[in-house]
């Protein structure tokens, strides 16, 4: 029997003992020994539990650090995307503002304007609109009330405009200030300044006078601002006076320029 069913006698005894313990515990007769045992076991269990909690915290910190690293990387990518999106929006806003501002100065009903982005500046100002958009050689490039330049060459997708400072540029102009008025020709100089030449001695011109376009060339309207007088050059032995004129704004700051097509 013991070969087939091993330790049956002992098993029955121990099961009976367990059953007796169960009944005794169920009837709360083992309350005192249980309490006594808990006095010994509880501090050990508490110590183990505390150690376990501390260990879990340490490991949790390691996992958190790893997750934080991944999150940081993802956030950096997100910031990069947002910055680029922000830059694009700012650019579009500036363009929209330029467009609104332009429509306030030169009426869109009177002039046919093509908005173009400056895409390069060396001797000529390069813009991103060409013959496909209706840009032609000889057309005026403006910004608000200011004359920027004249289209000298145009391809299908872009065009180049000669600025006022270009030595080939010549525009009939007049200056006007408080009680002063003079006529002349604005000639481009090398550098950032323009010279207003052929001013008669009897005509009055002074520093800070604004210089406007006469509009006699045909491609640009009369009254466009060309610049501000910075210095008057007057010599007794010369027939004409001259004045140094500086453009009012820096072309590099512009987001949009407008080509007057008609």
């Amino acid at each position: 029997m013991d070969r087939v069913v091993p330790n049956l006698k002992l098993f029955v005894i121990l099961i009976t003992l367990s059953l007796i313990t169960l009944i005794l515990d169920f009837t709360h007769l083992l309350k005192f020994p249980k309490q006594l045992l808990s006095y010994i076991t509880n501090p050990i269990s508490f110590g183990l539990y505390q150690t376990n909690q501390k260990l879990i915290k340490q490991f949790h910190f390691i996992f958190q650090a790893r997750t934080a690293g991944q999150e940081n990387k993802a956030l950096k990518e997100q910031i990069g995307k947002l910055l680029s999106e922000n830059a694009l929006l700012r650019k579009k806003l500036a363009e929209a503002e330029s467009l609104v501002s332009q429509s306030q100065h030169l009426s869109l009903q009177t002039y046919n304007l093509i908005a173009a982005r400056p895409i390069g500046l060396s001797r000529y100002l390069k813009i991103d609109k060409g013959t496909d958009a209706g840009v032609k050689k000889g057309q005026a490039v403006v910004f608000n009330d200011n004359y920027v330049g004249k289209i000298v060459s145009a391809s299908a997708k872009n065009a180049a405009a000669a600025l006022l400072t270009d030595p080939d540029s010549k525009v009939a102009a007049f200056s006007q200030g408080l009680g002063t008025r003079a006529k002349g020709v604005l000639v481009g100089q090398f550098g950032n300044e323009v010279l207003m030449d052929k001013i008669l001695h009897e005509e009055k011109i002074s520093v800070d006078d604004l210089v406007y376009a006469e509009g006699t060339e045909g491609f640009l309207p009369r009254g466009l601002i060309l610049g501000r007088v910075t210095q008057v050059l007057e010599r007794e032995n010369e027939v004409f006076k001259q004045a140094k004129v500086q453009p009012i704004f820096d072309i590099r700051d512009l987001e949009l320029v407008f080509v007057i097509t008609e």
């Binding site: 002992l10 121990l14 099961i15 003992l17 367990s18 009944i23 005794l24 515990d25 376990n52």
Partner: protein, 142 residues
């Protein structure tokens, strides 16, 4: 044996505080599978009482479960199939499921994990029993 008892005491404290696995039952199952001796039954009774006390359950109930599991495995270990250690996994699964069903709501993912770790535990116990316990039958001839 003393070392085994100390290890089992430590494990019973760990199981009641930190590890949600019934490692005592697994070790007892593995030992019973290896050896059909009386010590396994004593251990099952004693540690059943200790685990019940630590888990604040009714004393005796856990002992009965452990004793039943150990005794059944001792009976099974006499069968021809017992030579294959992989049989331990389904046996452990059944014993652990019954234990979980009686004590609380069974969590089968935990039971599966427990059943799977019973195999490496079995090899550890076998190593221990073969290498680190004194065999009464082996005597040095002089």
């Amino acid at each position: 044996m003393k070392i085994l008892i100390i290890i089992l005491i430590i494990i019973s404290f760990l199981q009641s505080t930190t590890a949600p696995l019934d490692l005592i039952l697994i070790i007892l199952i593995c030992r019973s599978y290896l050896k059909a001796d009386k010590a396994s039954l004593y251990l099952a009774f004693a540690f059943g009482q200790l685990v019940s006390s630590l888990d604040l359950r009714l004393l005796g109930l856990q002992s009965m479960i452990y004793l039943s599991a150990v005794w059944l495995i001792q009976v099974l270990s006499r069968s021809r199939l017992a030579g294959n250690p992989f049989l331990l996994i389904p046996i452990s699964f059944i014993c652990l499921s019954i234990n979980s069903l009686i004590n609380s709501t069974p969590s089968f993912p935990t039971i599966i994990v427990e059943s799977l770790i019973s195999l490496p535990i079995f090899y550890i116990v076998r190593l221990w029993e073969e290498r680190f316990t004194i065999q009464k039958g082996i005597k040095l001839r002089i």
